[in-house]
């Protein structure tokens, strides 16, 4: 069965691109455009992996990540933080929220795909 990946990003175009890339590599994709929706979909759909933008309306990516990671039911789902923020402090904060990986935009498709593979095989 194909793995399900949830993409949460407020930029429609980004979602389109990433979705295309993932689907082109055999993954099922569900999407959300803000933190609140992302959280809801994560809980209801229980994806195998979440790609999470940080700058989100309603609830930002850090919070979403933390909430999922501190929740017994969902902390097992790997979370890749996905952001144009490249500062060390951003990475650090990401780690603190329990994210499993941090990918900066623009990204290398190969890097993203291999990371997903890695996290899904654990």
């Amino acid at each position: 069965m194909a793995k399900k990946i949830l993409i949460v990003d407020d930029e429609e175009n980004i979602v389109t691109m990433v979705e295309a890339r993932l689907m082109g590599n055999g993954y099922d994709v569900i999407t959300a455009n803000d933190g609140q929706e992302g959280l809801a979909k994560a809980r209801s759909e229980k994806p195998d992996l979440i790609i999470l933008d940080i700058m989100l309306p309603k609830i930002d990516g850090y919070k979403v990540c933390r909430m999922l990671k501190f929740d017994e039911q969902y902390k097992h789902i790997p979370v890749i933080l996905f952001s144009a923020r490249t500062q060390d402090s951003d990475l650090e904060t990401g780690k603190q929220q329990g994210a499993d990986a941090y990918i900066t935009k623009p990204f290398q498709p190969e890097a993203l795909l291999s990371k997903i593979k890695e996290l899904l095989s654990e």
């Binding site: 295309a20 890339r21 082109g24």
Partner: protein, 794 residues
């Protein structure tokens, strides 16, 4: 005339005279007494002796007569009675008679001696016969005895005896009477004479003594008068002058000491009078001068008032808040800006303690204590203090401010301090905005870039179906430049951070040789494809320094990347050499080189010199600028050596900064202050035992992150800007200037608690043990090296 003699002389004279009188009296007494001596010692005793002798002789004569009778009688009676008692009586008396006669001879004078000798002779003779008589009686021949006594011989001797006695008496009779009389008269005379002598002497001496006493008294009176009278005059005179009559002249006739004293005193009085007159004159002069001065002062007052008004206007016109305090921190002056800033009027604030009126907090909201405030430090050290802080206004707003405190000194005393306060809210906002802007911009630029890239990439990767070669080519070209754009954005971000000073170097111990090798290795494939030789040269196998690893990697990457771009054949050599206190690194290539006129521009922004097509990424034109910035942040130098067609050599120097160096450096500043201010400094060293385990388990990067975090945690516990933290591998150092060992323990305790709390989250297994040790100046050492050594001694 007497008065012209010196007082001393007078006294001596007087005493001399009196002594002479006393001596005279004594001498006369002695002389008179001597006169009495004669009679007393010679005449009278002589007379008395004569008397005595005469009477003694008389007595003896009596005895001789009597004894003779006794003898005659005793002999006769014995002869007649034969009673022994008469014999015994004779035997008893006879010796006595002999001795009496002997004595008489002794005691008498020449005539007497003659007489008594005859008597003695007679006695001897008849005594002899008497003895014969006795003897006869003894044998019982009383007749014979009596016959002896009747003999003519016997009676002859007796007659001689008697005759002798009588002649004595005769002589005596005359002499006795005479002598006795004469003697008695003589003695009487002598006694009378003596009497007279004594009374005469007595009289004489009495008169003489009285006269002497009189003389002495008179002399005494004279002398003392001669001294006291002038003295009285002087006393009177001094009193009169003392009461104010400076014209009075003391009159003393004598030319002795008193006279001279009087003269001198008069002189003094005269001079006093003169100087009084002089003084009065001076007082008058001075008073008029004073009047002038008062006038001047009034003028000065007016000028000062004018200046005061001007300076008040100045104060009111400067844009920044100004508060001046005295040496205790009480507010003396507050300008209108400060009033407006903090919501207190100058009147309300005057006299209050600065720290009470304007509290200060740290960024997090912790109260800054009085002795850590800028004014306290300026007052204590006498040095200017420049700092930033958050001040709390009257309405409890937290205002970020930049402050400059200058102490006010007069000679060596600190009178107070002046603090200039600038509200930097706007600046802080701008700063924040800058940071935000940079992040936001880069974020904003990256997002569409991501879309573009992925769009192109998807098509290029034929996710939506096959594409022809031409499509591939052009899409590929597009993709390349999209990536370049990304790199430009990254570099822009770096550059802006470096230039706005927002970048912090995170130093750790790195091996530069290893870094050079590993970066070079990443270019291995590309170099191989181009047929270039890559080599590393180093002065030793391992060269360690305390640097920001990632940034130095960035520099190497940039330089080697550039070398790759501009070298078609030959080699690229990376060198790391230790030169004294510095490490010299270079990237040299055998490429096309750089023209002289372009050399200067190399490190400028967006400089792309002689771009080639071909392998390697297209440059952004910012790489060298960033490298320069990074090297600059490490306080090093970077430059280029090149000649057209002769290759290029980029060199950068980094000061060989070991962790020890940094620690020493940081300590040195604090120690200097402590020594000159005669205060203290404490160094707290936290040791994280078993942190290698963590390093092995979670990797170097994670460990570095942790240490950085713990440094941040430590910083939070420290409330003063002065306090510094440094970490390295497994130790975290906290430097507390002006803190004594005792207080350092409190701080260390606090930090320890926070660190342990942090560790319990990161290392729940509690593998890492945290210890700390405190060394302080001056107890534990007097130099940075001392302290470091001490802190490292287990």
């Amino acid at each position: 005339m007497f008065e012209n003699l010196r007082i001393g002389t007078r006294l001596i004279l007087a005493f001399l005279v009196m002594s002479i009188l006393v001596a005279a009296v004594s001498i006369f007494s002695v002389i008179e007494l001597n006169k009495v001596q004669g009679p007393l010692t010679k005449d009278i005793p002589a007379g008395l002796l004569e008397l005595e002798t005469t009477s003694h002789l008389d007595g003896l004569a009596q005895k001789i007569r009597f004894y003779d009778q006794v003898l005659t009688e005793s002999a006769r009676n014995y002869a007649q009675s034969g009673d022994k008692k008469w014999k015994y009586r004779y035997k008893n008396v006879e010796p006595q008679l002999s001795s009496a006669i002997r004595e008489a001879i002794e005691k008498g004078d020449a005539e007497d001696q003659q007489i008594f000798s005859a008597i003695q002779k007679a006695k001897l003779s008849y005594a002899d016969l008497e003895y014969q008589c006795l003897a006869s009686v003894d044998i019982g021949d009383r007749q014979r005895a009596l016959a002896i006594l009747e003999s003519q011989d016997y009676w002859q001797h007796k007659e001689e005896y008697k005759a002798g006695l009588e002649s004595y008496i005769e002589r005596r009779g005359k002499k006795y009477g005479d002598t006795l009389e004469v003697t008695a008269t003589k003695v009487d005379q002598i006694v009378q004479d003596t009497h007279r002598l004594v009374s005469e002497s007595l009289q004489f001496l009495t008169i003489f003594s009285l006269l002497s006493m009189l003389l002495a008294v008179v002399l005494g009176i004279f002398v003392s008068r001669s001294i006291l009278n002038p003295m009285k005059s002087l006393e009177r005179g001094v009193e009169i002058i003392g009461k104010g009559n400076l014209d009075y002249k003391i009159r003393v006739k004598a030319k002795d000491e008193m006279g001279r004293f009087a003269t001198a005193f008069n002189d003094m009085t005269r001079k006093l009078k003169e100087s009084y007159a002089g003084l009065e004159q001076k007082v008058r002069e001075k008073t008029s001068e004073l009047a002038n001065k008062v006038e001047e002062l009034e003028e000065t007052k007016k000028t000062i008032l004018k200046e005061k008004v001007v300076s008040e206007a100045l104060l009111a016109s400067i844009g920044e808040g100004m508060i001046a305090t005295d040496q205790n921190g009480s507010i003396m002056v507050m300008n209108p800006q400060a009033e407006a800033m903090f919501g207190w009027t100058a009147d309300e604030a005057l006299g209050q303690s600065f720290w009470d009126v304007i509290p200060s907090q740290s960024e997090k909201g912790e109260v800054i204590l009085q002795d850590q405030r800028a004014i306290s430090m300026a007052l204590a050290t006498g040095k200017k203090v420049i700092s930033t802080a958050y001040y709390i206004s009257r309405d409890k707003r937290k205002i970020p401010v930049a402050i400059t405190v200058s102490p006010v000194r007069l000679d060596d005393k600190i009178l107070g301090a002046i603090e200039i306060v600038r509200d930097i809210t706007k600046e802080k906002e701008v700063d924040m905005m800058k940071t935000e802007f940079i992040s936001t911009v880069s974020h904003e630029l990256r997002t569409p870039l991501t879309v573009i890239r992925e769009g192109v990439s998807l098509v290029l990767d034929q996710v939506f179906g096959q594409i022809n070669e031409k499509q591939k080519k052009f899409l590929w070209i597009a993709l390349e430049d999209i990536d370049r754009l990304k790199r430009i954005i990254d570099n822009l971000l770096d550059i802006s951070k470096i230039e706005s000073g927002k970048i912090e170097i995170k130093r750790e111990e790195v091996d530069l040789v290893h870094i050079a090798q590993s970066v070079l290795a990443t270019f291995q494939t590309r170099a191989h494809n181009k047929g270039l030789e890559l080599r590393v040269k180093s002065s030793s196998e391992k060269i360690e320094a305390y640097l920001d690893r990632d940034k130095i990697i960035q520099v190497f990457t940039n330089l080697i990347g550039n070398a790759m771009k501009f070298t078609e054949k030959g080699h690229i050599e990376v060198g790391v050499e230790e030169k004294g206190g510095e490490i010299q690194c270079y990237v040299a290539d055998s490429g096309k080189g750089i023209a002289e006129e372009d050399l200067a521009k190399m490190f400028g922004k967006f400089q792309q010199v002689g771009r080639t097509n071909g392998t390697g990424e297209k440059g952004t034109g910012l790489g060298l600028s960033i490298s320069k910035g990074i090297v600059g942040l490490h306080r090093g130098k970077i430059w280029v050596e090149s000649k057209l067609d002769q290759g290029t050599r980029f060199v950068f120097l980094l000061p060989k900064f070991t962790f020890q160096d940094q620690l020493r450096d940081t300590l040195m500043v604090g120690m200097k202050e402590a020594k000159s201010q005669k205060s203290a400094l404490s160094l707290v060293t936290f040791e994280f035992k078993n942190i290698e385990m963590l390093r092995n388990a979670k990797g170097r990067q994670k460990t570095v992150q942790m240490m950085t975090q713990m440094e941040a945690v430590t910083r939070n516990c420290l409330r003063r800007q002065l306090d510094m933290t440094l970490w390295n591998r497994d130790t975290l150092h906290v430097i507390l200037p002006t803190t004594i060992k005792e207080n350092a323990f409190h701080v260390a305790d606090r930090v320890h608690k926070s660190l342990v709390e942090y560790l319990s989250k990161e290392d729940p297994a509690q593998q890492i043990k945290l210890y700390y040790k405190i060394v302080a100046y001056p107890e534990d050492g007097s130099s940075e090296n001392d302290l470091i050594q001490h802190s490292q001694a287990a």
